[in-house]
Protein backbone atom coordinates (compact mmCIF):
# COMPACT_ATOMS: atom_id res chain seq x y z
CA UNK A 1 0.00 0.00 0.00
CA UNK A 2 2.88 2.36 0.80
CA UNK A 3 4.08 2.05 -2.79
CA UNK A 4 0.62 2.83 -4.10
CA UNK A 5 0.37 5.92 -1.90
CA UNK A 6 3.83 7.06 -2.99
CA UNK A 7 2.81 6.67 -6.64
CA UNK A 8 -0.54 8.34 -5.89
CA UNK A 9 1.16 11.34 -4.31
CA UNK A 10 3.55 11.61 -7.23
CA UNK A 11 0.70 11.38 -9.73
CA UNK A 12 -1.23 14.02 -7.82
CA UNK A 13 1.77 16.36 -7.96
CA UNK A 14 2.13 15.68 -11.66
CA UNK A 15 -1.51 16.25 -12.62
CA UNK A 16 -1.96 19.29 -10.38
CA UNK A 17 1.07 20.90 -11.97
CA UNK A 18 -0.54 20.27 -15.34
CA UNK A 19 -2.67 23.35 -14.69
CA UNK A 20 -5.75 21.17 -14.67
CA UNK A 21 -7.19 23.34 -11.92
CA UNK A 22 -7.51 26.10 -14.50
CA UNK A 23 -10.57 24.16 -15.67
CA UNK A 24 -12.26 25.50 -12.56
CA UNK A 25 -11.48 29.02 -13.66
CA UNK A 26 -12.90 28.37 -17.14
CA UNK A 27 -15.98 26.83 -15.56
CA UNK A 28 -16.34 29.78 -13.20
CA UNK A 29 -16.20 32.28 -16.03
CA UNK A 30 -18.67 30.27 -18.08
CA UNK A 31 -21.08 30.14 -15.14
CA UNK A 32 -20.91 33.87 -14.56
CA UNK A 33 -21.62 34.65 -18.20
CA UNK A 34 -24.36 32.02 -18.32
CA UNK A 35 -26.06 33.33 -15.21
CA UNK A 36 -26.27 36.83 -16.66
CA UNK A 37 -27.68 35.48 -19.89
CA UNK A 38 -30.13 33.11 -18.20
CA UNK A 39 -31.50 35.96 -16.11
CA UNK A 40 -32.83 37.57 -19.25
CA UNK A 41 -34.23 34.59 -21.12
CA UNK A 42 -35.55 32.13 -18.60
CA UNK A 43 -38.54 34.07 -17.25
CA UNK A 44 -37.31 34.20 -13.65
CA UNK A 45 -36.21 30.58 -13.60
CA UNK A 46 -32.56 31.57 -13.22
CA UNK A 47 -31.95 29.54 -10.07
CA UNK A 48 -33.26 26.33 -11.57
CA UNK A 49 -31.44 26.85 -14.88
CA UNK A 50 -28.18 27.62 -13.14
CA UNK A 51 -28.37 24.55 -10.96
CA UNK A 52 -29.40 22.22 -13.77
CA UNK A 53 -27.10 23.50 -16.49
CA UNK A 54 -24.38 24.09 -13.93
CA UNK A 55 -24.41 20.48 -12.78
CA UNK A 56 -24.43 19.31 -16.38
CA UNK A 57 -21.38 21.49 -16.98
CA UNK A 58 -19.71 20.04 -13.86
CA UNK A 59 -20.33 16.57 -15.28
CA UNK A 60 -18.97 17.41 -18.71
CA UNK A 61 -15.95 19.39 -17.55
CA UNK A 62 -15.16 16.77 -14.92
CA UNK A 63 -15.51 14.00 -17.47
CA UNK A 64 -13.24 15.72 -19.98
CA UNK A 65 -10.53 16.33 -17.39
CA UNK A 66 -10.82 12.78 -16.08
CA UNK A 67 -10.79 10.83 -19.33
CA UNK A 68 -8.08 12.88 -21.00
CA UNK A 69 -5.84 12.69 -17.96
CA UNK A 70 -6.59 9.00 -17.43
CA UNK A 71 -5.97 8.16 -21.09
CA UNK A 72 -2.49 9.62 -20.77
CA UNK A 73 -1.76 8.30 -17.31
CA UNK A 74 -0.01 5.06 -18.13
CA UNK A 75 1.00 5.93 -21.67
CA UNK A 76 3.03 8.92 -20.51
CA UNK A 77 5.04 6.79 -18.10
CA UNK A 78 5.85 4.39 -20.90
CA UNK A 79 6.71 7.04 -23.47
CA UNK A 80 8.88 8.97 -21.04
CA UNK A 81 10.44 5.71 -19.82
CA UNK A 82 9.80 6.49 -16.20
CA UNK A 83 8.42 2.94 -16.03
CA UNK A 84 12.05 1.82 -15.78
CA UNK A 85 12.44 3.92 -12.66
CA UNK A 86 9.23 2.51 -11.16
CA UNK A 87 9.49 -1.15 -12.04
CA UNK A 88 13.16 -1.52 -11.22
CA UNK A 89 11.90 -1.18 -7.68
CA UNK A 90 9.75 -3.68 -5.77
CA UNK A 91 6.49 -2.29 -7.17
CA UNK A 92 3.86 -4.57 -8.60
CA UNK A 93 1.67 -3.76 -11.58
CA UNK A 94 -1.37 -3.60 -9.28
CA UNK A 95 0.32 -1.15 -6.92
CA UNK A 96 1.30 0.99 -9.88
CA UNK A 97 -2.15 1.03 -11.45
CA UNK A 98 -3.96 1.68 -8.16
CA UNK A 99 -1.45 4.35 -7.22
CA UNK A 100 -1.77 6.19 -10.53
CA UNK A 101 -5.54 5.96 -10.31
CA UNK A 102 -5.69 7.22 -6.71
CA UNK A 103 -3.49 10.21 -7.50
CA UNK A 104 -5.61 11.21 -10.46
CA UNK A 105 -8.82 10.59 -8.50
CA UNK A 106 -7.62 13.08 -5.92
CA UNK A 107 -6.89 15.68 -8.58
CA UNK A 108 -10.26 15.16 -10.25
CA UNK A 109 -11.91 15.41 -6.83
CA UNK A 110 -10.44 18.87 -6.35
CA UNK A 111 -11.54 19.94 -9.83
CA UNK A 112 -15.09 18.62 -9.52
CA UNK A 113 -15.52 19.81 -5.94
CA UNK A 114 -14.12 23.22 -6.88
CA UNK A 115 -16.71 23.55 -9.64
CA UNK A 116 -19.50 22.31 -7.38
CA UNK A 117 -18.62 24.73 -4.60
CA UNK A 118 -18.41 27.58 -7.06
CA UNK A 119 -21.80 26.65 -8.51
CA UNK A 120 -23.24 26.57 -5.00
CA UNK A 121 -21.98 30.05 -4.19
CA UNK A 122 -22.91 31.58 -7.53
CA UNK A 123 -26.45 30.19 -7.28
CA UNK A 124 -26.65 31.56 -3.76
CA UNK A 125 -25.37 35.01 -4.62
CA UNK A 126 -27.07 35.50 -7.96
CA UNK A 127 -30.35 33.70 -7.43
CA UNK A 128 -30.61 33.85 -3.64
CA UNK A 129 -30.83 30.09 -3.18
CA UNK A 130 -28.41 28.23 -0.90
CA UNK A 131 -28.90 24.76 -2.33
CA UNK A 132 -26.89 22.20 -0.40
CA UNK A 133 -28.30 19.60 -2.76
CA UNK A 134 -25.94 21.03 -5.41
CA UNK A 135 -22.96 19.87 -3.36
CA UNK A 136 -24.48 16.45 -2.84
CA UNK A 137 -25.18 16.11 -6.54
CA UNK A 138 -21.57 17.14 -7.22
CA UNK A 139 -20.30 14.27 -5.07
CA UNK A 140 -22.46 11.77 -6.93
CA UNK A 141 -21.24 13.20 -10.24
CA UNK A 142 -17.69 12.72 -8.99
CA UNK A 143 -18.38 9.04 -8.34
CA UNK A 144 -19.63 8.57 -11.91
CA UNK A 145 -16.63 10.39 -13.34
CA UNK A 146 -14.19 8.35 -11.31
CA UNK A 147 -15.74 5.07 -12.47
CA UNK A 148 -15.32 6.18 -16.08
CA UNK A 149 -11.75 7.13 -15.21
CA UNK A 150 -11.05 3.62 -13.93
CA UNK A 151 -12.27 2.11 -17.20
CA UNK A 152 -10.19 4.62 -19.15
CA UNK A 153 -7.11 3.61 -17.17
CA UNK A 154 -7.84 0.03 -18.20
CA UNK A 155 -7.98 1.04 -21.87
CA UNK A 156 -4.79 3.05 -21.50
CA UNK A 157 -2.85 -0.11 -20.61
CA UNK A 158 -3.08 -1.30 -24.20
CA UNK A 159 -4.46 1.54 -26.36
CA UNK A 160 -3.14 4.97 -27.28
CA UNK A 161 -3.96 7.97 -25.10
CA UNK A 162 -6.45 9.46 -27.56
CA UNK A 163 -8.22 6.17 -28.21
CA UNK A 164 -8.44 5.46 -24.48
CA UNK A 165 -9.95 8.88 -23.84
CA UNK A 166 -12.49 8.51 -26.65
CA UNK A 167 -13.43 5.05 -25.37
CA UNK A 168 -13.80 6.55 -21.91
CA UNK A 169 -16.31 9.08 -23.23
CA UNK A 170 -18.16 6.24 -25.00
CA UNK A 171 -18.30 4.30 -21.75
CA UNK A 172 -19.81 7.32 -20.02
CA UNK A 173 -22.52 7.57 -22.69
CA UNK A 174 -23.10 3.83 -22.60
CA UNK A 175 -23.35 3.99 -18.83
CA UNK A 176 -26.13 6.55 -19.11
CA UNK A 177 -28.01 4.22 -21.47
CA UNK A 178 -27.56 1.10 -19.39
CA UNK A 179 -31.28 0.51 -19.04
CA UNK A 180 -31.67 0.43 -22.84
CA UNK A 181 -29.22 -2.44 -23.02
CA UNK A 182 -31.24 -4.22 -20.34
CA UNK A 183 -34.31 -3.88 -22.54
CA UNK A 184 -32.38 -5.48 -25.40
CA UNK A 185 -31.82 -8.58 -23.29
CA UNK A 186 -35.55 -9.14 -23.30
CA UNK A 187 -36.24 -8.57 -26.97
CA UNK A 188 -36.65 -11.18 -29.66
CA UNK A 189 -36.15 -14.92 -29.59
CA UNK A 190 -32.48 -15.34 -30.38
CA UNK A 191 -30.83 -16.61 -27.21
CA UNK A 192 -27.36 -15.70 -28.43
CA UNK A 193 -28.36 -12.06 -28.81
CA UNK A 194 -29.99 -12.07 -25.41
CA UNK A 195 -26.86 -13.49 -23.81
CA UNK A 196 -24.63 -11.03 -25.65
CA UNK A 197 -26.86 -8.13 -24.62
CA UNK A 198 -26.76 -9.34 -21.04
CA UNK A 199 -22.96 -9.54 -21.11
CA UNK A 200 -22.78 -6.00 -22.48
CA UNK A 201 -25.21 -4.89 -19.79
CA UNK A 202 -22.99 -6.39 -17.09
CA UNK A 203 -19.81 -5.01 -18.61
CA UNK A 204 -21.08 -1.41 -18.87
CA UNK A 205 -21.18 0.59 -15.65
CA UNK A 206 -24.72 1.50 -14.71
CA UNK A 207 -24.26 5.23 -14.24
CA UNK A 208 -27.89 6.24 -14.59
CA UNK A 209 -29.31 4.14 -11.75
CA UNK A 210 -29.06 7.10 -9.40
CA UNK A 211 -29.26 10.65 -10.63
CA UNK A 212 -29.18 13.47 -8.14
CA UNK A 213 -29.69 16.27 -10.65
CA UNK A 214 -33.49 16.00 -10.90
CA UNK A 215 -33.82 16.17 -7.11
CA UNK A 216 -31.81 19.41 -7.11
CA UNK A 217 -34.52 21.05 -9.23
CA UNK A 218 -37.40 19.49 -7.36
CA UNK A 219 -38.05 16.43 -9.50
CA UNK A 220 -38.16 13.64 -7.01
CA UNK A 221 -35.82 12.88 -4.14
CA UNK A 222 -32.79 10.66 -3.56
CA UNK A 223 -33.51 7.19 -2.22
CA UNK A 224 -30.61 6.79 0.20
CA UNK A 225 -30.83 3.05 0.54
CA UNK A 226 -30.67 2.55 -3.18
CA UNK A 227 -27.92 5.15 -3.48
CA UNK A 228 -25.79 3.31 -0.93
CA UNK A 229 -26.27 0.10 -2.91
CA UNK A 230 -25.35 1.88 -6.12
CA UNK A 231 -22.20 3.34 -4.56
CA UNK A 232 -21.20 -0.11 -3.40
CA UNK A 233 -21.79 -1.50 -6.89
CA UNK A 234 -19.70 1.25 -8.49
CA UNK A 235 -16.87 0.78 -6.00
CA UNK A 236 -16.77 -2.92 -6.81
CA UNK A 237 -16.91 -2.14 -10.53
CA UNK A 238 -13.98 0.24 -10.22
CA UNK A 239 -11.90 -2.32 -8.37
CA UNK A 240 -12.64 -4.95 -11.02
CA UNK A 241 -11.65 -2.53 -13.80
CA UNK A 242 -8.41 -1.63 -12.08
CA UNK A 243 -7.53 -5.24 -11.31
CA UNK A 244 -8.08 -6.18 -14.95
CA UNK A 245 -5.94 -3.19 -15.94
CA UNK A 246 -3.23 -4.38 -13.57
CA UNK A 247 -3.41 -7.89 -15.04
CA UNK A 248 -3.05 -6.55 -18.59
CA UNK A 249 -0.26 -4.22 -17.55
CA UNK A 250 1.60 -7.00 -15.77
CA UNK A 251 2.01 -8.78 -19.06
CA UNK A 252 3.73 -5.80 -20.65
CA UNK A 253 7.44 -5.63 -21.30
CA UNK A 254 9.41 -2.41 -21.24
Amino acid sequence: MKCSFAIALNTFKETIRDRVLSVIVVFALAMIVASLWLATISLEQQARMMKDFGLTAVTLFGLVVAVFAAGNLVRKEMEKRTVFFIFSKPVSAAQFIFGKFLGLALTVFLVVLGMGVFLFFVTWLVAGEAAGSVLLATLLIYVQVVVVMAVTVFFSTFASAILSSVLGVCIFIAGQLSHNVLSLTRLGDAEVLKVLSWLVFIAMPNLAAVDAKPSVVGEGSIAWGHTALWLGYLSAYMIVALLVAAWVFRRKEF
Partner: protein
Protein backbone atom coordinates in the same frame (compact mmCIF):
# COMPACT_ATOMS: atom_id res chain seq x y z
CA UNK B 1 12.13 41.93 -41.33
CA UNK B 2 10.27 42.03 -44.64
CA UNK B 3 8.89 38.57 -43.98
CA UNK B 4 7.67 39.63 -40.58
CA UNK B 5 5.88 42.68 -41.99
CA UNK B 6 4.33 40.50 -44.67
CA UNK B 7 3.06 38.04 -42.06
CA UNK B 8 1.55 40.88 -40.03
CA UNK B 9 -0.14 42.29 -43.13
CA UNK B 10 -1.53 38.88 -44.05
CA UNK B 11 -2.80 38.45 -40.50
CA UNK B 12 -4.49 41.86 -40.50
CA UNK B 13 -6.04 41.28 -43.92
CA UNK B 14 -7.42 37.88 -42.92
CA UNK B 15 -8.71 39.25 -39.60
CA UNK B 16 -10.50 42.02 -41.47
CA UNK B 17 -12.07 39.50 -43.82
CA UNK B 18 -13.24 37.37 -40.88
CA UNK B 19 -14.70 40.30 -38.96
CA UNK B 20 -16.12 41.93 -42.05
CA UNK B 21 -17.87 38.80 -43.23
CA UNK B 22 -19.45 38.14 -39.86
CA UNK B 23 -20.44 41.75 -39.33
CA UNK B 24 -22.30 41.90 -42.64
CA UNK B 25 -24.38 38.77 -42.09
CA UNK B 26 -28.08 39.61 -42.00
CA UNK B 27 -29.87 39.42 -38.68
CA UNK B 28 -31.41 36.11 -37.81
CA UNK B 29 -34.79 35.82 -39.38
CA UNK B 30 -37.65 34.56 -37.31
CA UNK B 31 -37.71 30.83 -37.15
CA UNK B 32 -40.39 28.87 -38.86
CA UNK B 33 -43.50 28.43 -36.75
CA UNK B 34 -42.98 24.71 -37.20
CA UNK B 35 -39.93 23.32 -35.47
CA UNK B 36 -38.94 19.76 -34.91
CA UNK B 37 -39.77 18.69 -31.37
CA UNK B 38 -39.02 15.09 -30.42
CA UNK B 39 -41.48 13.31 -28.21
CA UNK B 40 -40.87 13.16 -24.50
CA UNK B 41 -40.79 9.38 -24.75
CA UNK B 42 -37.72 9.58 -26.96
CA UNK B 43 -35.79 11.41 -24.28
CA UNK B 44 -37.19 9.26 -21.50
CA UNK B 45 -36.01 6.16 -23.33
CA UNK B 46 -32.62 7.45 -24.30
CA UNK B 47 -31.51 9.82 -21.64
CA UNK B 48 -32.98 9.34 -18.18
CA UNK B 49 -30.15 11.18 -16.52
CA UNK B 50 -30.47 14.45 -18.35
CA UNK B 51 -34.22 14.79 -18.56
CA UNK B 52 -34.44 17.95 -16.51
CA UNK B 53 -31.54 19.51 -18.42
CA UNK B 54 -33.28 18.78 -21.72
CA UNK B 55 -36.51 20.15 -20.27
CA UNK B 56 -34.70 23.31 -19.27
CA UNK B 57 -33.11 23.68 -22.68
CA UNK B 58 -36.48 23.29 -24.34
CA UNK B 59 -37.98 25.72 -21.84
CA UNK B 60 -35.52 28.37 -22.97
CA UNK B 61 -36.35 27.47 -26.56
CA UNK B 62 -40.07 27.76 -25.82
CA UNK B 63 -39.68 31.23 -24.31
CA UNK B 64 -37.68 32.35 -27.35
CA UNK B 65 -40.15 30.74 -29.73
CA UNK B 66 -43.11 32.44 -28.09
CA UNK B 67 -41.34 35.79 -28.01
CA UNK B 68 -40.44 35.59 -31.70
CA UNK B 69 -43.90 34.65 -32.89
CA UNK B 70 -46.04 36.76 -30.58
CA UNK B 71 -44.37 39.84 -32.03
CA UNK B 72 -44.12 38.35 -35.50
CA UNK B 73 -46.43 36.15 -37.49
CA UNK B 74 -48.50 35.09 -34.44
CA UNK B 75 -48.30 31.45 -35.47
CA UNK B 76 -47.59 29.04 -32.67
CA UNK B 77 -47.77 25.66 -34.41
CA UNK B 78 -45.07 24.07 -32.27
CA UNK B 79 -45.90 25.76 -28.97
CA UNK B 80 -48.01 22.91 -27.63
CA UNK B 81 -45.47 20.15 -28.54
CA UNK B 82 -42.71 22.13 -26.83
CA UNK B 83 -44.74 22.71 -23.68
CA UNK B 84 -45.83 19.10 -23.74
CA UNK B 85 -42.20 17.99 -23.94
CA UNK B 86 -41.00 20.30 -21.18
CA UNK B 87 -43.76 19.34 -18.77
CA UNK B 88 -43.51 15.61 -19.45
CA UNK B 89 -39.76 15.60 -18.90
CA UNK B 90 -40.01 17.76 -15.80
CA UNK B 91 -43.49 17.46 -14.32
CA UNK B 92 -42.62 19.48 -11.21
CA UNK B 93 -41.38 22.45 -13.18
CA UNK B 94 -44.32 24.74 -12.47
CA UNK B 95 -43.51 27.82 -14.52
CA UNK B 96 -44.09 26.17 -17.92
CA UNK B 97 -47.62 25.22 -16.91
CA UNK B 98 -48.43 28.74 -15.80
CA UNK B 99 -46.73 30.56 -18.64
CA UNK B 100 -47.71 27.93 -21.17
CA UNK B 101 -51.42 28.05 -20.37
CA UNK B 102 -51.58 31.76 -21.10
CA UNK B 103 -49.31 31.45 -24.11
CA UNK B 104 -51.70 28.83 -25.50
CA UNK B 105 -54.53 31.20 -24.77
CA UNK B 106 -52.70 33.79 -26.86
CA UNK B 107 -52.35 31.10 -29.52
CA UNK B 108 -56.10 30.67 -29.57
CA UNK B 109 -56.10 27.32 -27.80
CA UNK B 110 -57.62 27.80 -24.35
CA UNK B 111 -58.60 24.13 -24.38
CA UNK B 112 -54.95 23.09 -24.51
CA UNK B 113 -54.13 25.69 -21.89
CA UNK B 114 -56.72 24.16 -19.60
CA UNK B 115 -55.39 20.67 -20.27
CA UNK B 116 -51.86 21.84 -19.49
CA UNK B 117 -52.99 23.38 -16.21
CA UNK B 118 -54.84 20.24 -15.23
CA UNK B 119 -51.76 18.18 -15.90
CA UNK B 120 -49.74 20.62 -13.86
CA UNK B 121 -52.19 20.36 -10.97
CA UNK B 122 -52.08 16.56 -11.06
CA UNK B 123 -48.30 16.64 -10.81
CA UNK B 124 -48.17 19.52 -8.31
CA UNK B 125 -51.29 19.33 -6.14
CA UNK B 126 -49.96 21.89 -3.65
CA UNK B 127 -49.43 24.72 -6.14
CA UNK B 128 -52.31 27.08 -5.49
CA UNK B 129 -51.54 29.26 -8.52
CA UNK B 130 -52.35 26.44 -10.94
CA UNK B 131 -55.78 26.12 -9.37
CA UNK B 132 -56.46 29.84 -9.57
CA UNK B 133 -55.48 29.74 -13.24
CA UNK B 134 -57.84 26.81 -13.77
CA UNK B 135 -60.59 28.82 -12.15
CA UNK B 136 -59.80 31.73 -14.41
CA UNK B 137 -59.88 29.57 -17.53
CA UNK B 138 -63.20 28.02 -16.59
CA UNK B 139 -64.75 31.37 -15.73
CA UNK B 140 -63.45 33.22 -18.78
CA UNK B 141 -63.53 30.58 -21.50
CA UNK B 142 -65.83 27.90 -20.24
CA UNK B 143 -69.11 27.31 -22.02
CA UNK B 144 -70.79 25.45 -19.19
CA UNK B 145 -73.79 27.41 -17.78
CA UNK B 146 -72.50 26.60 -14.27
CA UNK B 147 -69.06 27.93 -15.02
CA UNK B 148 -69.21 30.45 -12.18
CA UNK B 149 -69.71 27.71 -9.63
CA UNK B 150 -67.17 25.45 -11.31
CA UNK B 151 -64.62 28.25 -11.28
CA UNK B 152 -65.47 28.99 -7.66
CA UNK B 153 -64.63 25.38 -6.80
CA UNK B 154 -61.16 25.76 -8.24
CA UNK B 155 -60.61 28.97 -6.33
CA UNK B 156 -61.95 27.41 -3.19
CA UNK B 157 -59.51 24.50 -3.45
CA UNK B 158 -56.72 26.97 -4.13
CA UNK B 159 -57.55 29.03 -1.05
CA UNK B 160 -57.03 25.94 1.15
CA UNK B 161 -53.49 25.36 -0.08
CA UNK B 162 -50.43 26.70 1.75
CA UNK B 163 -49.27 30.08 0.54
CA UNK B 164 -52.56 31.06 -1.08
CA UNK B 165 -53.17 34.80 -0.63
CA UNK B 166 -56.37 36.09 0.90
CA UNK B 167 -57.85 37.29 -2.36
CA UNK B 168 -58.25 33.73 -3.63
CA UNK B 169 -60.91 32.91 -1.07
CA UNK B 170 -62.64 36.22 -1.80
CA UNK B 171 -62.77 35.44 -5.50
CA UNK B 172 -64.25 32.03 -4.74
CA UNK B 173 -66.93 33.63 -2.62
CA UNK B 174 -67.77 36.26 -5.27
CA UNK B 175 -68.08 33.56 -7.90
CA UNK B 176 -70.36 31.51 -5.71
CA UNK B 177 -72.56 34.55 -5.24
CA UNK B 178 -72.55 35.25 -8.96
CA UNK B 179 -73.38 31.65 -9.63
CA UNK B 180 -76.42 31.84 -7.43
CA UNK B 181 -75.01 29.65 -4.69
CA UNK B 182 -76.02 32.04 -1.92
CA UNK B 183 -75.60 29.60 0.88
CA UNK B 184 -72.18 28.46 -0.23
CA UNK B 185 -71.22 32.07 -0.79
CA UNK B 186 -72.16 33.04 2.77
CA UNK B 187 -70.15 30.15 4.15
CA UNK B 188 -67.19 31.15 2.05
CA UNK B 189 -67.39 34.76 3.24
CA UNK B 190 -67.64 33.66 6.82
CA UNK B 191 -64.53 31.53 6.30
CA UNK B 192 -62.78 34.56 4.81
CA UNK B 193 -63.77 36.63 7.84
CA UNK B 194 -62.29 34.01 10.12
CA UNK B 195 -59.02 33.49 8.22
CA UNK B 196 -58.31 36.81 6.56
CA UNK B 197 -56.74 40.13 7.46
CA UNK B 198 -58.63 43.31 8.34
CA UNK B 199 -59.35 44.15 4.73
CA UNK B 200 -60.74 40.66 4.09
CA UNK B 201 -62.93 40.96 7.19
CA UNK B 202 -64.27 44.31 6.06
CA UNK B 203 -65.03 42.93 2.59
CA UNK B 204 -66.65 39.84 4.08
CA UNK B 205 -68.98 41.91 6.24
CA UNK B 206 -70.08 44.02 3.27
CA UNK B 207 -70.79 40.96 1.16
CA UNK B 208 -72.54 39.05 3.93
CA UNK B 209 -74.68 42.05 4.71
CA UNK B 210 -76.04 41.93 1.16
CA UNK B 211 -76.33 38.11 1.04
CA UNK B 212 -78.02 37.43 4.40
CA UNK B 213 -81.81 37.76 4.74
CA UNK B 214 -83.13 41.12 5.78
CA UNK B 215 -85.54 39.57 8.24
CA UNK B 216 -83.77 39.77 11.64
CA UNK B 217 -84.88 36.35 12.83
CA UNK B 218 -83.85 34.63 9.63
CA UNK B 219 -80.59 36.59 9.65
CA UNK B 220 -79.90 35.59 13.22
CA UNK B 221 -80.49 31.93 12.37
CA UNK B 222 -78.11 32.05 9.46
CA UNK B 223 -75.43 33.95 11.39
CA UNK B 224 -75.62 31.27 14.06
CA UNK B 225 -74.97 28.60 11.42
CA UNK B 226 -71.91 30.55 10.26
CA UNK B 227 -70.35 30.20 13.73
CA UNK B 228 -68.76 27.01 12.43
CA UNK B 229 -66.55 29.04 10.10
CA UNK B 230 -65.56 31.88 12.46
CA UNK B 231 -63.18 31.40 15.42
CA UNK B 232 -64.91 31.89 18.80
CA UNK B 233 -62.83 34.94 19.75
CA UNK B 234 -64.04 36.72 16.58
CA UNK B 235 -67.64 35.53 16.55
CA UNK B 236 -69.04 38.12 18.95
CA UNK B 237 -67.72 40.95 16.88
CA UNK B 238 -68.84 39.16 13.70
CA UNK B 239 -72.41 38.67 14.86
CA UNK B 240 -72.63 42.22 16.31
CA UNK B 241 -71.54 43.64 12.97
CA UNK B 242 -74.15 41.67 11.06
CA UNK B 243 -77.01 41.72 13.52
CA UNK B 244 -76.35 45.17 14.92
CA UNK B 245 -76.64 46.20 18.55
CA UNK B 246 -74.84 44.69 21.57
Amino acid sequence: MVRRILLVLIFVACALVVVGYQATRPAKSASSPRVFVPSAQFFTDFSPSFRTTIADAYWLRTVQYYGEHVTGDRRFDSLWPMLDLVTRLSPHFVRPYRFGAFALLEAGRPDLGYELLKRGHDANPNEYALLTHLGFFVYTYGSNPDKDVLAAEWYQKASELPGAPDWVARVAARLLTKGGERQKATMQWAQIYGDGDQYSRDRALVELDSLLPVDPAARQREVAVLAEFVPPYLFDEFSRALLGGD
